[in-house]
Symmetry: C2
Subunit: 163 residues, 2 copies
Amino acid sequence: MPTTDPTLTFRPATRDDLPAIVALLANDPLGAQRENHVLPLPRSYEDAFAAIDRDPNNELVVVDTPEHRVAGVLQLTRIPHITYQGGWRAQIEGVRVASALRSSGIGRQLFLWAIERARAAGCHLVQLTSDKARPDAIRFYEGLGFRASHEGMKLHLDRPVRD
Amino acid sequence: MPTTDPTLTFRPATRDDLPAIVALLANDPLGAQRENHVLPLPRSYEDAFAAIDRDPNNELVVVDTPEHRVAGVLQLTRIPHITYQGGWRAQIEGVRVASALRSSGIGRQLFLWAIERARAAGCHLVQLTSDKARPDAIRFYEGLGFRASHEGMKLHLDRPVRD
């Protein structure tokens, strides 16, 4: 059974957490190229938070420690599919732990919590994609039992589709 | 510009298409192990169809030819994220073309249609995962401009999480 540190609090994010979440996402070599952590936050972040917040199948989850509010974050999305006899999947995206707390086990606790939440919500599968430029992350997921059975393929729409 | 065969019809699936969709999904070496194409269909397929149908961010798309109703299928899901400054992504899953029509170009037309639909809906990225046991599919996606930049990682919840 997962043993969870009782000092950690896992909870859905609120609007007040959004600046701290964006700061976490931006504090990363890949995230730094993609995010724009200025205050007030760009409106696009507010709009995305509102869209996630009103969707019962989408959830931003944060973890607090006694010393550090929003020590980690991930997004959990439930998706119904016809495949696997109409099975629901849980998808995880936007995972980040505060740099001072990496390798402390908080990321693993956050994942174990999210996996149990997906199981309790009736999902048969948890999936995510991890950039091949993040070998440490891939090992972390493998350590949780994830298998890199698939290619994670991306098409950025600012580039023209080949036709 | 994509040139679309004018005899093809792309449309959202209806409940009446569901048996044909399940038949397509089951007619495949991997799908045959996962699906249960009996009539009447297992209730789980009906429930998943209803969940997709009522979710404005989820869509089952089929393509008809003059001779073949439901010649191909895919599921298109729009997901709001905080990452990429609050960007929406489109995700594609459950892609299948009738075996008699594979390599006819219908799959490519269906994808080009879905990619344009994602772009029109404001998504900045289209993503999918493809089983590494399907090298032909991976080449097909690369030919559309997708890059296998990520590992597609799966955790089946019938197996215990390592702890």
